[in-house]
């Protein structure tokens, strides 16, 4: 997928002006948070489970090489194949080679963020293999030639009318005057269309939420059942997974599963949690004859041992974006690459380079909500701060920002001058607002006043007021 992250500001502005996107975002805002809160309230052990989940991931990362080798050996023992791929290119080629090996014409696909990361669909299509997304949300995005805007609710930016329009355009052998009276009618049509595809596909590609070293299993978690149809019906099952997905045992996986669905959708457990281990075994009546795992690095091994290692704990639950004011203001597409929200702001620069994702770590109000809901306790605001520092060090910050920061730093080192200057500015602004108490427009601050008014100072700076109050309370301000 192209990296459009440097364009964050322009995309965010466009998103704020997009009425239909804003109505879709408004409709879902709050719902995720409420569902998660209810699920967490119903499980007194939730906080302790977060600690356990974090510890499991930290232990695994500290011995990542050992667990990956153990995992791979156990996949092979079960008759599967592991393809170690350093780059997106290698991963795409490995997938294509497997498809060619069985003369595949169509492949069905379960939801996989790795597939987006390596831009697999375009590549397969260009090489004569037709990919079909089967997750409902991913299916409509494929019809609309669009990228997902959320990691578990990919079509969160769309309204019902968008679905109807796309279906009428794509499913042309159905009566054009059919009615979609309810959402259900849309889903039934998709179910029927996709059933056909499941039955004829030669290869099924899924992602993986976890890889289990103890057993050589891959785990997917879905609600629709599309991932299971994808991996059960075709001759070949390909799992796309990145190296940080490995965990030691079934028990470790279980602990992570206990926090995953609750953090994601507020369910106690997703409808289908499925463990796959190798191809069809003796006597099995169904299941694929070949089982392959594409084990992708794509920049992750370089995060091991760095200040960004914590990010490798991420289990892609989406809680951080579901609780993010920035995400719900600008939507997932503004982030310009596969991973939106706070986790994307940290992960994208690590995977594509800070020079190509520079704006993202700034897309934060630093309210800290993301860290407080993260089931594996990733210090997301801190990691974003690290990126900002790196960005500044490497002179990637735009000159205006640098100049302003330098000016501010000078003032900060000269507090008396700072106080003098801010006092003057506060008086001037209070006068200029003519007692309205707020500005509709401010020079140099169009980005702020476009979405809201800027409150005018009352003529006194924070320092001055603080000093006055302390004096009134008989204390001595320093």
């Amino acid at each position: 997928m192209n990296v459009d992250s440097p364009d964050f500001k322009r995309r965010a502005k466009r998103a704020l002006d997009n009425a239909s996107l804003q109505s879709a975002l408004t409709a879902t805002r709050g719902a995720f948070a409420a569902r998660r809160a209810a699920a967490v309230a119903a499980l007194p052990e939730f906080e302790a489970l977060r600690d356990a989940a974090k510890a499991i991931k930290d232990h695994t990362l500290a011995h990542l090489d050992f667990y990956l080798e153990t995992y791979a050996a156990n996949v092979e023992r079960a008759g599967g194949h592991v393809h170690w791929c350093s780059t997106a290119d290698e991963a795409r080629e490995a997938v294509l080679a497997i498809c060619r090996g069985v003369d595949a014409r169509t492949v069905t696909k379960g939801k996989s963020m790795i597939s987006e990361e390596i831009a697999l669909n375009d590549y397969l299509e260009a090489n004569g293999v037709q990919p079909v997304e089967t997750d409902l949300g991913e299916y409509i995005l494929q019809l609309r030639h669009e990228a997902p805007s959320h990691i578990i609710a990919p079509a969160i930016h769309l309204n019902r009318e968008d679905w109807e329009r796309a279906f009428r355009k794509a499913h042309t052998d159905r009566p054009s005057d059919r009615r979609f009276a309810e959402r259900r009618d849309i889903m039934v049509e998709a179910r029927e269309e996709l059933r056909e595809k499941f039955l004829v596909a030669d290869v099924g590609i899924t992602g993986a939420n976890f890889l289990i070293a103890e057993t050589g299993s891959s785990v997917i978690v879905t609600n629709e059942g599309n991932g299971d149809l994808t991996q059960t019906l075709p001759k070949v099952h390909i799992v796309l997974a990145s190296i940080e997905k490995v965990v030691p045992t079934l028990e470790d996986t279980t602990s992570l599963l206990r926090v995953l669905a609750r953090s994601a959708t507020g369910q106690d457990f997703s409808v289908y949690t499925t463990f796959s281990t190798g191809p069809r075994q003796e006597g099995d009546l169904d299941g694929p004859g070949e089982y392959h795992v594409i084990l992708l690095d794509n920049g992750r091994s370089a995060m091991v041992g760095s200040e960004f290692q914590d990010m490798l704990r991420c289990i892609r639950c989406s809680a951080c974006m579901n609780h993010c004011p920035v995400f719900f203001a600008v939507g997932g597409h503004s982030y310009g690459w596969v991973y939106p929200g706070p986790m994307g702001s940290v992960l994208t620069p690590a995977l594509v380079g800070i020079d190509r994702a520079g704006n993202l770590p700034n897309a934060s109000t630093f309210c800290g909500k993301c860290e407080s809901v993260c089931p594996v306790k990733i210090p997301l605001p801190n990691l974003m701060r690290h990126w900002r520092e790196r960005e500044f060090e490497r002179h990637l910050t735009p000159p205006v920002v640098r100049a302003n920061l330098a000016l501010w730093a000078w003032f900060a080192r000269h507090p008396s001058v700072y106080r003098l200057a801010t006092r003057a500015a506060a008086r001037a602004m209070a006068l200029a607002s003519r007692g309205r108490g707020a500005f509709r427009r401010l020079p140099f601050a169009g980005g702020w006043t476009g979405g809201r008014d800027f409150p005018a100072p009352e003529g006194e700076t924070f320092f001055a007021r603080y000093a006055r109050q302390q004096r009134q309370q008989g204390r001595n301000p320093r």
Binding site: L64, D65, S86, R183, E214, S217, T254, T274, G287, S301
Partner: protein, 231 residues
């Protein structure tokens, strides 16, 4: 090779070479012991309460159930469920010995086809390997007599489960599975943990049942466990 490149980069990040033999021993012991982590208290209750918790959680995720005294009562339970939902009496059924032992012939209208699931199936009957009370989850490991497609293709899936196979937490089910598979590969090809019928909230974040898998999930629970019976 990429394998060596990836492992090498990880080790450079961790500032060490391959794990030492001592560490490897410890890590292998951790795998072999597969110690349980924290298990929520909600399923740590006496057997009858565990079974009720399973059924309560099943209903909370839009599953349904009939509780019967013994295997002989299963055909009647299945037939009345199908009739009650205006469903056909043609059923795809898992070729499992426990299901074969059920006296289906007492309900001659039920037309059973043994085998895997097919695209045209409207109703399937699956053998319930286990249930997990903690979340109302069915555990359905693939086997020659428990084909995975029966969980996926029909509109309505009926699972016949014995109360003695209801576990409190997932960890108990893992241990039962390990014991059952001793001497074989540790895992069957596929294990589906099913918690309610298929659903999606992709259209305007609103929940709809029956996305790609079954839109109805019904459990027929056989009370074969004297300790689990309600008193």
């Amino acid at each position: 090779m990429s394998r060596e490149a990836i492992l090498g980069a990880i080790r450079r990040g961790l500032r060490r070479g391959p794990v030492t033999e001592d560490t490897a021993l410890l890590l292998r012991a951790r795998l072999a012991l597969h110690r349980r982590q924290l298990i929520p208290a909600r399923s740590r209750v006496p057997r009858p309460a565990q079974v009720s918790l399973f059924l309560k959680n099943l209903e909370a995720v839009f599953g349904s159930f009939t509780r019967v005294a013994d295997a002989a009562a299963v055909p009647e339970a299945v037939a009345s469920y199908l009739a009650g939902h205006n469903l056909p009496f043609a059923v795809a059924i898992a070729p499992h010995p426990e299901l074969r032992d059920i006296p289906w012939s007492e309900r001659p209208l039920l037309a059973l086809r043994e085998g895997k699931g097919e695209a045209a199936d409207l109703v399937s009957i699956q053998h319930g390997w286990g249930g997990i009370a903690e979340t109302g989850t069915l555990m359905l490991p693939a086997a020659p007599d428990r084909p995975t497609t029966l969980n996926l293709l029909a509109d309505t899936e009926i699972v016949v489960l014995r109360a003695s196979r209801v576990f409190g937490a997932y960890e108990e089910a893992w241990d039962a599975l390990r014991a059952e598979r001793a001497g074989r590969l540790p895992m069957p090809r596929n294990i589906m943990m099913v918690t309610g019928p298929s659903r999606s909230a992709d259209i305007e974040s609103t929940l709809e049942l029956g996305a790609h898998g079954p839109r109805r999930l019904h459990v027929v629970l056989i009370d074969d466990d004297p300790e689990a019976k309600e008193t």
